[in-house]
Amino acid sequence: MTDISHTPPDASAKSPRVDHLLIAEMVEPGSRVLDVGCGDGELLQLLATTKGVDGRGVEIDRDKVNACVAHGLSVIQGDADHDLANYPDQAFDYAILSLTIQATRHPKTVLENLLRIGRRAIVSFPNFGHWEVRSRLLFTGRMPETRNLPDSWYLSPNAHLCTIRDFANLCATVGAVVEQAVAFNAAGRRLPIKWSISTQNLLGEKAVFLLKGPAP
């Protein structure tokens, strides 16, 4: 996947993204990981270095795939909508979808596949319920363009934007167990876990969910 969220590069371009750091915390050392929409392989590198994982990636952008493989990562050119169906059940300890689900054509199928392929799924996404998004829509009457969602509606690759509450509902619909859910504010700080989902949905700019599939 391309960098779907179009998050502008941090000033400290080399320091890992906060959502990546959180994902790295969630992953057990030495596990098998599939990163769907792995981009230039930043997360896979981080997981390999800090957690010694056996990592694989799927990426839609050919140049990024080439860069990943040239750096020694095991990455295939493909995309979440088409290529996940080929993987067997429980082939990985973690199937990760980082800031990509909102750009897939069939997010529900993609999520179901992630939960099937991985013993755990980790999904991060930009939160359309963030107060800034809401206020832009409310006061300008136009599709919000924010730091987190910088493209105009006709250029954006995002086809299925959702809020934290929407995503939690989808998890319930597909029978996924939410083991952990963390939201970040615009400064990249984690919101206190004890805050209600309504508050997280209002103040969280991005969210990361650690999920377990429904019992077979």
Partner: protein, 401 residues
């Protein structure tokens, strides 16, 4: 002439010397070491000619087997003994190259059925003392791999660090990975397919019919007569050569340009540059290649379908594999298009194999894997470096990179 004392003077050309006494090393397997072929015949004795580059390390863990394509040979990175041209994959293989012979021990064997020293239809049939011709058994990609495995045994190597090859070489890579899961640490099938397509079989049939239509082919017995079906083989090569290129590549290279003339001649001379080029490709090919070998090898490719022995499900061929794969295709390759590489990748994903897959943007067609493609080189270098780290291979010695 009698069968006992054949007149082989006609076979004295360099081409025939390479068939019988190749300039490269050769391992000869005796009557007591037959090769059981897929057609259920035993081939014995047989010979496998090969080249090596670099040095095998102490624990024999740095060997890379390069598998060559239809008209390739063992001379990967050294001059060809007949044409004296540089090796066919010097772009990729050599000191400091992506397949770095300062770090790896590179082996390439002339395939079974070939004509550069490994046993093939031009080799002498021990029963008659004459070249086999059409008495040579029909061989398969699997048979080629079995013969290579016997060579690797003789070289005392248990596990190959990597098996790599393009086109038909890629078919051998897949066959190696399916047959010898424990012996292949990593595998790179390039511009290849897990089964030969109907279209590709069709092109091969055109080539074979061109050879067989040449009166000099003489039902495959041209050796004794001192002739070769040059015209037929040249036409086969010309037709095949078109399939190795792309329309874009042909257009850029030749367009409609005329060859050494300003106007059309209103004849069937090679007015166009592209005609002249193809004629040249055809005529140089026949000086180094045996027509019967061409028939047998194209047949082996046509018979290739890795699904057949695995319940028609390609993924079954790779079940349980620990091999690290790097599958590569090229955008303008219409002979082995990307979708065929993708089918390999999907099968590998279905068994959760460790696989990388890169489609290289190139306008050079199928031949791109032999040409200057920096992105392709980076891919292979990155893949091999990562695999070498996993395998615990020492880095390139200081001062040798």
């Amino acid at each position: 002439m009698s069968a006992a004392t054949p007149d082989l003077s006609a076979l004295a050309e360099p081409r025939w010397n390479e068939v019988h006494n190749p300039t490269s090393p050769v391992i000869r397997f005796g009557e007591n070491e037959p090769l059981r072929l897929e057609c259920q015949q035993d081939l014995a004795p047989f010979a496998i000619a090969y080249q090596t580059y670099g040095e095998l390390n102490a624990d024999k863990s740095n060997a890379i087997l390069v598998c060559h394509a239809l008209t390739g040979d063992q001379h990967v990175a050294s001059d060809h003994p007949i044409t004296h041209k540089p090796g066919w994959w010097t772009s990729l293989v050599g000191p400091g190259k992506a397949v770095d012979t300062n770090r790896f021990f590179v082996i390439c064997a002339n395939i079974l059925g070939g004509c550069m020293g490994s046993t093939g239809p031009a080799s002498l049939n021990p029963k008659t003392g004459k070249p086999y011709g059409l008495d040579f058994p029909v061989i398969t990609i699997g048979d080629m791999v079995e013969a290579q495995a016997r060579l690797i045994d003789k070289l005392g190597i248990d596990q190959l660090f990597c098996v790599i090859g393009g086109s038909m070489g890629g078919m051998q890579v897949l066959e190696w990975a399916a047959r010898y899961k424990e012996r292949v640490f990593s595998a790179a099938p390039i511009a290849a397919a897990a089964w030969h397509s109907s279209q590709n079989i069709a092109f091969h049939e055109v080539g074979r019919q061109a050879v067989m239509a040449d009166p000099n082919w003489a039902a495959g017995n041209y050796y004794a007569a001192g002739t070769t079906p040059k015209n037929g083989l040249a036409v086969a090569r010309m037709a095949a050569h078109i399939t190795y290129l792309s329309e874009e590549a042909l257009h850029q290279k030749f367009g409609r340009n005329l060859q050494d003339r300003d106007t059309k001649t209103f004849s069937f001379n090679a007015d166009f540059q592209v005609e002249s080029y193809l004629r040249y490709q055809g005529s140089t090919f026949v000086d180094r290649f045996d027509a019967n070998s061409y028939l047998y090898i194209t047949r082996a490719m046509d018979y290739f379908d890795l699904r057949e022995k695995h319940g028609q499900v390609l993924a079954n061929a790779f079940r349980g594999t620990k091999t690290r794969f790097c599958v590569v295709s090229f955008t303008s390759d219409w002979l082995y298009p990307t979708r065929e590489s993708r089918a390999i990748v999907q099968a590998l994903n279905a068994v959760a194999a460790n696989v990388s897959f890169v489609e290289i943007d190139s306008d050079k067609g199928h031949d791109a894997f032999l040409l200057e493609e920096p992105t392709f080189f980076k891919t292979i270098r990155g893949f091999l470096n990562a695999a070498a780290t996993k395998r615990g291979l020492a880095p390139v010695p200081e001062g040798r990179s």
